[in-house]
Amino acid sequence: MADKLTRILYVEDEPDIQTVARLALEALGGFTVEICSSGGEALQRAPDFQPQLILLDVMMPGMDGPTMLGKLREFPRFASTPVVFMTAKVQSSEVAGYLEIGAVDVIPKPFDPMTLSSQVQNIWERCHD
């Protein structure tokens, strides 16, 4: 049986989405959420915050999601932390590409704030089947 999911790191540059995602994940899901606005910031914070799961926007200025994932995997302690892409780019070829580079799943944007927590919880459980 897997540990209970409590700590989520969310990397997203849009302030609006940050707010609604925090509300959805904290209020409805009861998770502890750390939000970073860029890939660089996330890489700095991750070692202290020790996330169990990372939600990652794909299209961000500076370092994009896939690049950030590559750098994250260079840390041994994050080599197998589940990473989920959150993106509006969800053509099937794109989704296949995300999974190829090691994402465990993709949550399409725009997401539904009422169900985001349960989506994340489901992914977490599936990772630990």
Binding site: I17, P110, D112, P113
Partner: protein, 557 residues
């Protein structure tokens, strides 16, 4: 943790804040657009513009503005296609961008008004139901199972056959979206298959669709089959044509869009309760708290069902139902009343005035969900009888013409391409006379099937007349449409049809017209018809594309 209603209230605040920022965001997007040089390709500014639009695409619907996401996505797709070329925009591209930009501007004006007048966040449905195309066959007789598997795979279904029940149970856990074909008797005991399905259905919120296959037809077994989630009961030997028809209807009547419910009640706590319950099942809900304001949401939101309170100030629900029913477009919409009324006589009286069902307050969530869902499903099936051709399941003549009117108007406004094709089976009378009408019907069905399979979801296919079909190819120019249909023409001519042990093949002719030459749908339709006539005269079994009409107005086609 927060309860859902409280969550709704918080989301509403966020939604308002988001709406309030929209004008500024649009202003920035328009500014970035103004800054783009007309004569060269400016990668950096273009990327900025793209990113700003992308962020609207990815956020609008989360805040309750689904239309904003749709329009922004259109614009983003177009920007993406331009970014592939990386050359200065030509006049046409520039104009098209201008149109898309204006649409975006328009829709944000609307977002604000929604947030201002209507204190309700419309939370999007969490996703469209995917059509199950996977089929699991559980059949005691190995040969029959393999035979079914082969036959179904010809029709594009992905089939798994099981003769080990443990494997089947496991596969059911891993694949929620399947259709099951279950042998009733299996290894021997008279209803083993039915018992097995009952057991599998127990742990599920949404029952798996099951077709039971049996050599015995008895009412008592049929009844048990229905109780185990059976939606069809087929006698052996299985008529494959019949089975495919049923599977096709099942996979196509599944809603491609979430159900839409309009809730009218003067009490805000009741409306937000209903909205929360229904939205959690994936429906889209719109709320009206003043009954006298119902008209414009009704026309704009076009609900599939209305939940209506009986006692409201200003106008009661019964009167309102009557008014709604007087509108042609809503003559058959299901209306379910919400009321504290438990007096049966009064309920029956309301039924006479056009109520479809009653929910008595306090409303049980599960009761509301099932009442609403079953009403909508039934009304959608009835509606599909009105717009669909009974033999092929394609849109009927009236429906495809209406669709063409809408599509032409929309593409003209957006400056997008569109092609319209008329398809007619060659020498069809000869097929009927030689091989009989049932064989003729099968040829018609196989062509309709091929057209549906080979065209995109966004293309529309209708049965125009006896052996004549109409196809609307959105966002496609005449040349591309010709290539697509010619490939279908080739494949159709290769299909072998059977009648009384004799094999034969059939061909079709096709005429295509491109919208850019024609001002309205009637002219477009006439033009395609003329080109079809030309294709027939040139020897049939061909796909022709119409030229631009002669300027003199004389057309010799």
């Amino acid at each position: 943790m927060t309860d859902p209603i409280d969550m709704q209230a918080k989301l509403k605040v966020l939604s308002d804040a988001y709406a309030a920022q929209l004008p500024e965001k649009i202003r920035q997007i328009e500014q970035a657009w103004e800054l783009l040089p007309r004569d060269t390709w400016d990668e950096e500014n273009f990327a900025t513009l793209h990113r700003m639009v992308h962020s609207l695409t990815g956020s609008g619907k989360t805040f309750g503005f689904a239309l904003l996401t749709d329009v922004a996505r259109n614009l983003e797709e177009y920007l993406k296609s331009l970014a592939l070329e990386k050359i200065a925009l030509n006049e046409q591209q520039h104009n098209k961008l201008q149109v898309l930009m204006r649409e975006l501007h328009q829709v944000t004006l609307h977002c604000n008004s929604v947030a201002d007048d209507n204190p309700q966040l419309v939370v999007p449905a969490s996703g469209e139901a995917a059509s199950p195309k996977r089929i699991f066959v559980v059949e005691g007789n190995h040969e029959q199972a393999e035979e079914l598997k082969v036959q179904l795979s010809y029709f594009g279904y992905d089939v798994g056959a099981f003769n080990n029940l443990a494997d089947f149970r496991l596969a059911m856990q891993a694949n929620p979206d399947v259709v099951v074909l279950m042998d009733v008797t299996l290894s021997g005991s008279s209803q083993e298959g039915i018992e097995l399905m009952k057991e599998i259905q127990q742990g599920r919120d949404i029952p798996v669709p099951v077709f039971f296959l049996t050599a015995r037809d008895e009412l008592a077994i049929r009844l048990e089959a229905v109780r185990a989630g059976g939606i069809a009961y087929l006698s052996k030997p299985i008529n494959i044509g019949n089975l495919i028809d049923k599977l096709d209807t099942l996979t196509s009547t599944l809603p491609s869009a979430p159900y839409r419910v309009l809730v009218v009640d003067d009490s805000e706590s009741i409306t937000s309760y209903c909205a929360t319950v229904l939205e959690q099942t994936g429906m889209v809900v719109k709320v009206v708290n003043n009954p006298l304001d119902v008209m414009s949401p009704l026309l704009e939101f076009t609900p599939d069902l209305i939940l209506l309170d009986i006692y409201m100030p200003g106008c009661n629900g019964l009167e309102l139902a009557k008014v709604i029913r007087q509108l042609d477009a809503f003559i058959s919409i299901p209306i379910v009343f919400l009321s504290a009324e438990s007096d049966l006589d009064k309920q029956l009286f309301a039924m006479g005035l056009g109520a479809d069902d009653f929910l008595t307050k306090p409303i049980q969530p599960q009761h509301m969900i099932s009442a609403v869902t079953s009403r909508i499903q039934r009304s959608l099936v009835l509606r599909s009888f009105m717009v669909r051709d009974s033999l092929t399941g394609l849109l009927n003549h009236t429906a495809i013409k209406d669709q063409l009117d809408r599509e032409v108007a929309q593409t003209k406004r957006r400056g997008m391409p569109l092609a319209f094709a008329m398809v007619d089976i060659d020498h069809f009378k000869h097929v009927n006379d030689t091989y009989g009408h049932p064989a003729g019907d099968r040829v018609i069905k196989s062509l309709s099937r091929l057209l549906k399979q080979r065209l995109r979801e966004t293309d529309m296919v209708g049965r125009y007349g006896g052996e004549e079909f109409a196809v609307i190819l959105s966002n496609t120019n005449g040349e591309t449409a010709q290539k697509v249909l010619d490939a279908i023409r080739h494949d159709f001519s290769q299909l072998r049809h059977m009648a009384d042990g004799k094999e034969f093949s059939a061909t079709f002719s096709c005429g295509i017209a491109d919208v850019s030459f024609f001002g309205d749908s009637t002219k477009l339709c006439d033009a395609a018809d003329r080109v079809l006539y030309k294709a027939k005269h040139a020897g049939r079994n061909r796909v022709l594309l119409g030229d631009a009409p002669a300027v003199s107005g004389t057309d010799f086609v």
